[in-house]
Every structure is written in structure tokens, then in C-alpha cells.
Amino acid sequence: MKPSPFNYLNVTTIENALDALSSNDNARLIAGGQSLVPMMNFRLAQPDLIIDISNINELKNVTEEKDYVEIGSLLTHTNAINSICLKKYFPVISNALKNVAHHTIRNQGTVGGSIANADPASEWPLLINLLDCSIKVKSKKNTREIPATKFFESHFVTNLKENEIIISIKIPKIQNLYGWSFHEESPREGDFAIVETGVIIEIENNNIIKNANIIIGGVDEKVIKLNNIENFIIGMNINEDLCKFDEKIVLTNIHPISDNHSSEEYKKHLSIVLLKKAINSAKKQILSKLND
């Protein structure tokens, strides 16, 4: 329950972090440390060098631009929940993040750490897909933006290269009238999700659904975007029954596995229940906005 020996380097600029990362083989970045340190305590992770980026202040900001909001990778879950800007444009974020572990963990854990860890049952990877974010990463020679759909590859595997650092996440503002919802089922408060779902539905002036993002997590090697269901409801009138889709088209797109908490069958059942609940609550929100 104690980590194996490692060297430590505290950096205060992105450049110093990139230098250290590119010149050491078995180096790991530490931000909040809420996933890495348990792994180190169990000796599942044994890095030779820990590069502490938690004191790089320029990565902690929320910046509003005309078409998007950009959040630094070191923004903690607590600061994201409390951000007035994020609450204004993306209320789904604070709603979903209240499910991230516990109060004290949320004080330390960061958005960048959470998406680099890429747990398919955690909340940030779902939000990144739900909100069509792009992830800005930097290496010594290059800066690139990775779209949400390309970033997550498998269980704890991302598109991030060994010499790259996540700098920020760009969240595009939603232009149309929209409704959102997030639902999660977990064994206890703060536990990992068994299944989590997020829905955003956008409508045009004539109440026709123009765009839909329907995302499910915890039931596959990564968070899954359910394109089939999205295509099913795009073009429908918001007043129609949006949950008449064939349940099989959900089940063919997800591959849950049984574990100590729940069987494969239960996870499939729960997926359908939560999806319908999520779609209907996003719809309800649009209807109440229309009546205002």
C-alpha cells in the first residue's frame, strides 16, 4: 500500500513539463492524482519519474469566446461545478459532475486527468462526447486538436501520444433551442456508474428536431455515441413519441460485461430504461422552454 520509489519534478510552465516528458522514458504526469496515486499505492503503476503539473496556473482557467468556451485541463471538478460560465451555457456539466466520486475527491480531481484516464464509466468522457468537444494537446513540436469521437479509443486508452499534454477542452456553444439530461445509476452515492446516459436534443423553429446527441457509458470499452437512435429522432416533431425505436438497435451497439455488481442482462435492461428516461427528460425540458 505504499508506492515504489520514484523521482519527482515540480514544474510551473507547460514548456518545462514537455521538456521533462520528452526526455524521460517512464514518466507520468500528476494533476489531481485521484486515479494515479491509488494505482501507485497498489503498485499497479510504477513510474520512474512523477512530473507534477498541478502548479501550472495557466491551465486552470475558464475562457469564454464567441462560439465556444475553453476550459483548462487542470480545472478541478469542484471548480467546474461552481463555474458561472459553464452553468450558463452547459448546465449538464455541473449536473453530471455531482456524480464524480465524493466532495473531497472532486476538490482535487481534474478534467484533464479524468479524460486522460479514460474510464468508460466516468462522467467527463461522456460529457466530452455529448457536448462535441475538441481536446487541445501539445507536444514540444506540435499542437493539435482532437475531436471527441477520435480521442477515446478503448478502456483507459486514448489518442494521446506519450510526449503530449492535454492543454484544454473547447466546448462549442449550442445555437438552437435545446434540452439536455444526464442520468446515472451506481451501487452507492459516488461509486462508479453501472450505466450513465447523456442526451442533448436541439430543435428548429417549427419544433422539428434538428440535431441530437445520445451517449451511453459504462457498457462498452469506451463511451458510445448511439448514432442509430440519433438518426431515428432527427426530423421528428418534438411532440411525437421519441422512444418508439427498436430496442435491438441499442443492444447491438453496446457490449456490457457482467461483474460483481450487475449482470450483462441487467446492464442491457438498465441501458434501455435510462436511455428512454434521458430522452424523455430532455424532451420535457424543451416543451417547458417552448411554453415559457
Binding site: 508506492p3 520509489p5 520514484f6 496515486v37 491509488p38 499505492n41 473531497t104 476538490n107 452507492r188 459516488g190
Partner: protein
Amino acid sequence: MINKFKIETIVNDKKYTKIIEPRLLASDFIRDNLNLTGTHVGCEHGVCGSCTIKIDGVTSRSCLKFAVQLHGKKVETVESLNSNPQKKLILKTFKKFHALQCGFCTPGFLITVDELIENEKFQSENEIRKALSGNLCRCTGYENIIKAVLELIKIRNKK
């Protein structure tokens, strides 16, 4: 070759300078190097909440931080609650409501509650239950802890 580090940190308003290895957990540093044994070590992987401390005014699991990361930071442990009457009230109220039995988890609860009552956001029983869900107690069944915190919130709101 592992380098040792000289760190300077302020713990409960007292400045300490120590030479340590990077792999030393903050929880072990506080207990073994500073002899502040009020902070308890339970699960050592961030689940039980017994080792909760405050770093620069914000709660953190001390088993998920390295001592070397405390360099230049201001740390408060459960011992700090003895320092002023307002904070002592937390201890008195826990005693009044019998909000502890064996006491192993209590330091973590006390520090977490200290942060909750500083924050106006926490008002209802439901919010308190959620906020304390990260601290495990195997004796009390939580009811008396919740009663104590509700009383503390009532006192805070009157001020």
C-alpha cells in the same frame, strides 16, 4: 538514484522543514515525521476518508498526495480544530450528539464538516448526506453524525 527533497510547509500555523523521499505519502509524513497522529490512515487508496486534511483551505485525501507536494502549501489537520472556539464547536457538537463510537473515522469527518459549514451551499440534510458519503463510518450508522452537522448548520445560519 532517488533524490531526496527538502520541503517547507506550514501545518496548523507552524512551519516545518523536513528532508523526505518523493514516495512518502502526505498521510505518513503527517503522522510519522510530524507526529501529528490525529490524522488516521485507513484504506490508503482514497475510499474511506479517514486521512482527510485541508491543503490551502480545500479538503484532500492525504493518502492521495505525496508529502513533497505539500512544499509551500498551508496544511490543516484535525488538530487545528482545537485552535479557535468556533472550530472547537464542531468537536463539542459531535460529543453532544454522540456522533462517534470507536473514533477511527472521526478525524476525517471533522475536517470534512469543517469545510461544509464554511460553505453556505450546504444547507439541507440531503446535501449533507451526499457531501459526507465520501467518509466511511462502520459504527454509528451515520444518523448521529448527520444530527450533529444539522445542528452546526443551524448555528452557522443564525450568525
